[in-house]
């Protein structure tokens, strides 16, 4: 069962939340940010090349132009591979764990998996981010040896930064699954 809704992030950009229910105890949320726009790419490239041409007219050294082209290409590749996150996914599987995946624009995927033993709770927290107060979803981790202490806080959807309405949707489904897991884990 798949549904798709559109939300906005803290800066007003459009986000698409795609929710998939695989089973009552397995749910996946994918949050897609808008892709790299041609307009901004052209603007940055033109700015860099104009600056390089200006330097070239000052220094009369053609190495500056080739260096500018090189820097533009390497910078673009680096940006696509290391910085631009296209989609963030949260997969919750009851009694197994929570998995967070970030897919970059170049196709690289970086995944983190947290076992259910270590998950204490999923909450929505408030934070001061630059000049704004924002809400973010985070996973509270506990040490299996000390179940009443919180050992770490892992924020989710850090690059997409959705607003509260989107977070509430994700939060509700996570809490359903966690409640189901807590109920069944106490029984043999």
């Amino acid at each position: 069962m798949e549904e798709e809704k559109s939300f906005s992030d803290i800066c007003g950009g459009r986000l698409a939340l795609r929710r998939r229910y695989y089973s009552p105890y397995c749910c996946e949320f994918g949050l897609s940010s808008p892709r790299l726009s041609l307009r901004s790419l052209t603007a940055v490239t033109c700015a860099v090349w104009l600056a390089a041409y200006g330097l070239f007219t000052l220094c009369e050294n053609s190495m500056i132009l080739s260096a500018a082209i090189f820097i533009t290409i390497i910078g673009l590749l680096g940006y696509l591979h290391f910085v631009k996150i296209d989609q963030e996914t949260l997969l919750i599987i009851d009694s197994l764990g929570i998995q967070m995946t970030s897919s970059y624009a170049s196709g690289k995927e970086s995944t983190t998996f947290i076992e259910m033993d270590k998950v204490k709770d999923v909450i929505i927290n408030e934070a001061i981010y630059m000049q704004k107060v924002i809400y973010y979803l985070c996973i509270l981790l506990k040490d299996p040896g000390k179940p009443h202490e919180i050992s770490r806080v892992v924020p989710v959807f850090q690059s997409a930064k959705p607003r509260l309405d989107c977070l509430i949707e994700v939060y509700r489904s996570c809490q359903e699954i966690l409640a189901h897991q807590k109920a069944t884990s106490t029984s043999p």
Binding site: Y22, L91, S95, L96, T112, F113, G145, T184
Partner: protein, 578 residues
């Protein structure tokens, strides 16, 4: 809890039979290791499982039945399989089935309660690649401080448990389909055992090679530890030269690599491999450097260029001193002291130049023989370069020491006379400043000396500043070379290569992918290995370096410079001599 069944992907196309594996009740997960095919005798299966349990300490048992309906034409097998539940009793009893005509699987897990009425539970199928899981090594993200290695590692987490189970059941995977055993198994090695000729040959050859190298290296260490080297001034020279430190470091590495005892843990094995690859690369780069140096008579060119360069440096120093003896940067110096210091240092430079000119016929031979030492490794060649720089700039070091001592003396004199000027005294017994009544003549002489020292301060301070800057420049150059040597020494190349070519060997964790799913069918997931990030690889497997790092922080360095104390950025570890 939902029951998790970990199924190896290699058994997905196997014939029908029994599922053999380990049941973990805390995680409610069944790790399936192999499939036993028909025909079999139940007693022999139980014997095999008992053997495996004794050899590997893993609780293998028959967990259920596997039915591949797409290959079986008859339906009667289904009833036969159900009857097996009575022979091999296990709670819960799994029944996995691959249906005809559909890609999806069906699983049932039956719990036989004491009351007699069986209850069913939801099952989740997780596919895993058995070979990759067996070969990989899990790196826990944060090792708990009270966690011990060994058997208790199984209780640290569900995933570590599964890795552990598959790794320790290696003895189960030793029989393949070509063995004439009583029981026919299906697992990742059932097509034939995996082995490599090169690895086997290397294993056979490593024994005698290790013995030979260990004896050679022990001879070498005995020679270097003999009492001849303890005569002064040899230990002093040894502690100052970084080449000796680097050679000792490499010797230690080599003796660790070729030690005859086997590696206790995977971590030690990786350390050995990293050291070996590092030494080999070092020697290869050194040989490259050697061939480049000895081609085109580069050594001769270097030797011919060395004396003019030394002359040029000395000339520049002379110009500098002439400038200081005049009115440097418009400052007015004390004429007499200026001339004394300037002439003193000029005489030193004159001595140094004569020494260099005396050595010049021998320089080419010395360089040629020293260049041969590059075959011991690039790090040794770089250390020798650093030592040559230190030797060639010895006069700058001497000037720095003279200037620093003079300045230090002046500063201490000034501080003590300043206390006298204010009527105070340093109490050595109580380590504090106390007031003191001086006689008139003491005050008179003290004030006079204080005034003289204050007016001579700019001259001394300027000389000290100039020579300290030169010394810092030389130290910076030497520091960069040392950093490079450290980098080559400590980079774990084998681990990085392994992470590049066989990423599943170094696992940071796992990742799951949900496979195509149909309503009413059990959930199917694919478990893959999440490889360790490159920065974590370098951080975990870094080799220990020489330890020749600057021992002071920036604050203490500035303090020492201000008070004129001598700075030794690479004081060798004299307190840890063996």
């Amino acid at each position: 809890m939902v029951l998790k069944a970990f199924f190896p992907t290699c058994c997905a196309s196997a014939d029908s039979g029994l599922l053999v594996g380990r049941w973990v009740p805390e995680q409610s997960s069944a790790v399936i290791l192999a499939v036993v095919h028909f025909p079999f005798i139940p007693i022999q299966v139980k014997e095999l499982l008992a053997q495996v349990h004794k050899a590997s300490q893993v609780q293998v048992a028959v967990l259920g039945t596997w039915c591949h309906r797409q290959q079986e034409p008859e339906e009667s097998l289904g009833h036969f399989l159900e009857g097996l539940g009575a022979i091999f009793s296990h709670d819960p009893w799994l029944q996995l089935c691959r249906e005809k005509g559909t890609r999806f699987w069906s699983c049932k897990a039956t719990y036989h309660q004491l009351q007699g009425t069986p209850t069913e539970d939801q099952v989740m199928l997780i596919f895993y690649d058995q070979r990759k899981l067996l070969l990989s090594w899990l790196h826990p993200p944060a090792a708990l401080p009270d966690c011990q290695a060994g058997d208790s590692a199984a209780s640290t987490g569900g995933l570590a448990d599964i890795f552990d189970t598959v790794a320790r059941s290696e003895v189960l995977f030793r029989n393949d389909q070509f063995d004439e055993g009583p029981v026919r198994l299906s697992h990742w090695q059932s097509e034939g055992m995996e082995a490599s000729i090169l690895v086997e040959l290397a294993k056979q050859a490593s024994g005698p090679i290790c013995l030979l190298m260990t004896s050679l290296l022990s001879l070498l260490s005995a020679a270097s530890a003999c009492r001849l080297w303890k005569l002064w001034p040899l230990p002093f020279i040894r502690s100052k030269l970084s080449t000796c430190e680097q050679l000792q470091h490499r010797l230690k590495h080599l003796s660790f690599i070729f030690s005859t005892e086997k590696a206790q843990s995977p971590m030690q094995l990786m350390r050995k491999a990293n050291m070996l690859v590092s030494v080999i690369l070092d020697v290869a780069l050194g040989l490259l450097l050697l061939s480049w140096l000895h081609s085109n008579n580069r050594i001769g060119q270097l030797a011919n260029a060395l004396v003019p360069v030394a002359d040029y440096v000395a000339e520049e120093l002379q110009h500098l001193l002439q400038w200081l003896m005049g009115a440097p940067a418009g400052l007015k110096m004390n004429r007499a002291l200026d001339q004394v210091l300037g002439r003193f240092f000029l005489y030193h430079i004159h001595l140094w130049i004569s020494y260099i000119h005396l050595m010049s016929p021998f320089i080419e031979h010395i360089l040629w023989h020293v260049g041969l030492s590059a075959c011991l490794g690039l790090t040794v060649a770089l250390s020798i370069l650093s030592d040559i720089i230190a030797l060639l700039t010895f006069h700058i070091y001497c000037f720095y020491v003279y200037g620093a001592r003079l300045y230090c003396l002046k500063i201490y004199g000034l501080s003590s006379l300043w206390r006298l000027f204010r009527g105070k005294k340093w109490n050595v017994l109580r380590q504090r400043v106390d007031s003191c009544s001086y006689d008139l003549d003491q005050l008179f002489i003290g004030t006079l000396l204080f005034t003289i020292l204050v007016f001579l301060l700019p001259t001394t301070a300027l000389y000290y500043l100039v020579f300290t800057l030169l010394r810092l420049l030389v130290i910076t150059v030497q520091g960069i070379i040392h950093l490079l040597v450290d980098f080559i020494n400590s980079l774990p190349l084998y681990s990085l290569g392994l992470r590049l070519c066989r990423p599943y060997r170094l696992a940071a964790g796992v990742k799951f992918r949900v496979l195509e799913q149909e309503k009413g069918r059990p959930l199917r997931l694919l478990m893959q290995i999440n490889p360790l990030h490159y920065s974590h690889v370098v951080h975990t497997y870094r080799l220990s370096s020489c330890g020749c790092h600057p021992k002071h922080s920036w604050g203490s360095l500035c303090r020492k410079l201000f008070f004129g104390e001598l700075i030794y950025p690479w004081r060798q570890r004299e307190d840890k001599q063996d």
